[in-house]
């Protein structure tokens, strides 16, 4: 150690700034260091944690508070290891390697310490495992099994100590099962930057609390459910409506419809022991029919409808701004498909609500159509229809309970189910999903395109919109510009990205839009700039950039998704979630897109049939404004 900083400073020596000598034999950060783990010699870059090093050496170290998506916490102490020369055991997830070490991962001392840590965690965990939705999928349970816990050394709570918080439509909090790993805190504050949960109080009174311990339904929670996906126990769960759905199915008078979003199909296999990224679309159709649902529809159909509505809205805004020189038009336009994102902007950036597209999310468009168009054409009383939506999302449960989502005269969508809940219903009905024969979607909303499918991945809405805009405005085939109509520049998992698309030539205006725009000539030579971002932390960056007049303020259209990875990483998807799992699900979604015969929203014949028969005054017309568009509430962040 050398102490040369601020020698004149009067602070005691121990408190002055210090410079640490470089470790021996290391020339630069990133240099390779040879370490020994359990007698295996491996080379790792400087700064690697012991946990990561052990993983590369194929050595298993148990973890609980560690999560790949989150920053290091080092609070649970389950991952302790023995480092030669260190007096105490070290938490391997929080120990960066800076010098050659000799590490032992399962000495008697380590095993005893881990067992004690687990016993201590269990002494505060109200483990009612049979009645817990994480039974068999609980990290604390598997740790207890791994370390052979056979009795509660430090006791075990016999009675619940806290009341369950049922105030939110989406997320249920049960602090009796919390082990204070702070994964939810890091998810909420670092990953999503929403800031609802934080550790409060001190010492043995520490709990995870909302602001002033208010009910979750009253605080600025956006219901994204990312905390549910990362909770190691059952302390955070989604609000489960399966009992109500079963009751509706069992009622012979009720006509129960299910609409299924694209992401659950790519994820539900994981609940049945399949590899992540195994698409189960058509097996699921048969399974839900066997469960007793009367009709199975494809939400992708309204995803196509969303593209038409939202795209028309964008063209109208551009027309007003560029041709009519209307200064009040809010650009860039933001997508409104993700209910978590909608609540995020309502809370944190209410002044930017004019930029939101007024189009509803595909789930709510479908709900409004089922209880109007479908009910009319099939002679069913809309009061008898129970419309259920299978979504990868916990925020959709909140969305279908919004007071403005009643445009059909009834509650448009009665229940939102998550992927996990449908998997539970399917197994409850005695069905093993992978063994099911394939089945198709029901008419009239069974026809969908590849563009609807990719709504599930980040960048998907934008890719679908671009496919349509290129063909309708430029009058050229997407295949001529991009191979197989795959707009690759917009894909990927980068947090926030931008794509520019020069419009060189324009084609004729399609018949349905002729009443709105006379010609495309004003777009000739313009460059369409679009942005994509996923995760609300990235959304915050983009919005701040727009406010500061940065690169994103020049965009015309920006896709926002509340969850990292888009819907496929949603809060209703199977647990666990990691970057690899999300990538596998994205692969499944893009593969399904390629397999479709029709891949562009505006080529979906049923969409145009709907405009002919029902939404007779065209996209963004009066009827579609009544049924398919909505308004937002400026909520603000002060409680």
């Amino acid at each position: 150690m050398t102490d040369n900083i601020n020698d004149s400073d009067r602070a005691p020596k121990a408190q002055r700034g210090q410079v640490i000598d470089k470790p021996d034999g290391v020339d630069a950060i990133g240099a390779q260091i040879t370490i020994t783990i359990d007698d295996n010699e491996i080379k790792v870059p400087m700064g690697t944690t012991i946990l990561e090093a052990a993983k590369t050496a194929g050595i298993h170290i148990p973890t609980l508070c560690h999560h790949e998506d989150l920053c290091v916490a080092g609070v649970c102490r389950v991952c302790v290891v023995e480092v030669e020369g260190q007096r105490a055991l070290q938490a391997s997830c929080a120990y960066p390697i800076t010098s050659p070490l000799n590490i032992k991962t399962h000495t008697p001392q380590v095993r005893r310490a881990r067992r004690h840590v687990i016993d201590l965690l269990l002494s505060k965990h109200y483990g009612e495992c049979y009645a817990c939705f994480r039974n068999n999928n609980c990290e604390l349970q598997s740790l207890a099994k791994e370390y052979g816990v056979d009795f509660f050394r430090f006791g075990h709570p016999e009675k619940p100590m806290f009341e369950k918080d049922h105030s939110s439509y989406s997320v249920v909090r049960d602090m009796n099962k919390c082990v204070l790993c702070r994964r939810c805190v890091r998810t909420c504050i670092d990953l999503q930057e929403v800031g609802v949960l934080e550790a409060a109080n001190r010492s043995n009174e520490t709990t995870i609390e909302t602001f002033q311990d208010r009910p979750l339904g009253d605080v600025v929670c956006i219901n994204c459910g990312q905390c549910i996906n990362r909770c190691p126990t059952g302390a955070l769960t989604a609000n489960d409506p399966t009992d109500e759905v079963w009751a509706a199915i069992d009622d012979p008078k009720k006509h129960v419809t299910l609409q299924t979003a694209p992401s659950p199909r790519a994820g539900i296999g994981e609940c049945f022991g399949l590899e992540p990224g195994t698409p189960m679309t058509f097996e699921m159709n048969t399974a839900v029919r066997q469960c007793g649902f009367d009709k199975v529809f494809d939400t992708n159909f309204t995803a196509d409808l969303t593209i038409i509505e939202e795209g028309t809205e964008l063209l109208l805004r551009l027309y007003k701004a560029l041709v009519e020189k209307d200064e009040t038009v809010a650009l860039p336009q933001f997508t409104s498909c993700s209910p978590g994102w909608v609540k995020f902007i309502e809370h944190f950036y209410p002044e930017m609500l004019p930029n939101m597209s007024s189009a509803k999310s595909p789930q709510q468009m479908f709900g409004a159509l089922i209880k109007t168009f479908y009910a009319e054409h099939h002679g069913i009383d809309p009061a008898d229809i129970v419309s259920v939506a299978l979504m990868p999302c916990s925020a959709k449960k909140f969305e279908c309970n919004r007071p403005e989502m009643t445009d059909s005269g009834y509650k448009d969508v009665d229940y939102g189910l998550t992927t996990r809940e449908l998997a539970k219903m399917i197994s409850e009905a005695g069905i093993h999903l992978p063994d099911m024969p394939k089945g198709d979607f029901d008419a009239p909303f069974g026809e969908a395109t590849g563009s609807g499918v990719i709504f599930g991945a980040t960048g998907g809405v934008m890719e679908a919109a671009l496919r349509t805009v290129i063909e309708l405005v430029c009058g050229v085939k997407v295949e001529d510009l991009f191979e197989h109509a795959n707009i690759l520049p917009i894909r990927g998992f980068e947090g926030a990205r931008m794509v520019e698309l020069p419009i060189e030539n324009v084609g004729p205006v399609p018949a349905v839009l002729q009443s709105l725009v006379p010609s495309w000539d004003w777009l000739k030579g313009a460059t369409l700039k679009v942005g994509v971002c996923h995760g609300t932390a990235n959304a915050k960056k983009v919005l701040d950039d727009i406010k500061a007049g940065g690169a994103f303020s020049e965009c015309h259209f920006i896709e926002f998704m509340a969850c990292p990875g888009g819907c496929l990483g949603g809060g209703g998807q199977p647990i666990p979630t990691t970057p690899e799992i999300r990538q596998a699900r994205a692969k499944a979604i893009y593969a399904e897109d390629e397999a479709y015969g029709i891949r562009k929203s505006h080529e979906n014949p049923v969409v145009w049939e709907l405009y002919e028969k029902f939404l007779t005054d065209g996209p963004c017309g009066h009827i579609s404004h009544k049924l398919l568009h909505t308004t937002y509430t400026a909520r603000g962040k002060y409680l």
Binding site: I189, R202, E209, F211
Partner: protein, 173 residues
């Protein structure tokens, strides 16, 4: 123009931020200043501080609930904190505690109905050689006897009487 307490707090915080900076390192000075002036940190103050420092209100709540000398609930005009650690305990803190409880008619952790006194336990305040020790707001009292408890309380009451020489009005900054 109507100036509300919230406007005043806004301005006071603005002055404080100009002095301490507007990042999260200014959190403790801001909270201590609010606590000093108002006797507790209101929910609005927590949200306002979070807003101006660019952090989340729940993080401020986490900090306020962590520290004993920051409070989210209104406390009495005089907060009496009696040390409960081992030296003071052996020097007879229990007798002092019951004398305080009897005199004020409240238990520890409570506030009198006239919002004058609050009783709280404190952990070691570093006066182990002079126990039992207690704090009245930020004034230290050492070698307290049951008789002196009466004197301490009387002195506090005297400071509230109409004849007392009023101290200067406290300002946040």
């Amino acid at each position: 123009m109507l100036v509300t307490n919230r406007n005043i707090l806004d301005q006071e915080l603005q002055v404080l931020i100009d002095k301490c900076g507007s990042d999260r390192t200014a959190l403790m000075p801001a909270l201590q200043a609010v606590q000093r002036k108002y006797g507790f940190v209101t929910d609005f103050a927590m949200q306002k501080i979070a807003d101006v420092l660019g952090i989340h209100p729940v993080e401020v709540h986490g900090v306020v609930s962590f520290y004993s000398f920051l409070s989210e609930k209104p406390l009495g005009r005089f907060v009496i904190r009696l040390c409960q650690t081992i030296s003071c305990d052996m020097a007879g803190k229990d007798r002092i505690a019951s004398q305080l409880e009897n005199e004020l008619g409240i238990k520890f952790g409570e506030t009198t109905t006239d919002k004058t006194f609050t009783l709280e336990w404190a952990n070691c305040i570093g006066l182990c050689d002079q126990g039992p020790a207690l704090l009245v707001n930020d004034i230290l009292w050492t070698k307290v006897t049951p008789q002196r408890v009466l004197e301490i309380i009387e002195e506090c009451r005297a400071r509230l009487s109409p004849h007392a020489i009023q101290g200067q009005e406290e300002h946040l900054v």
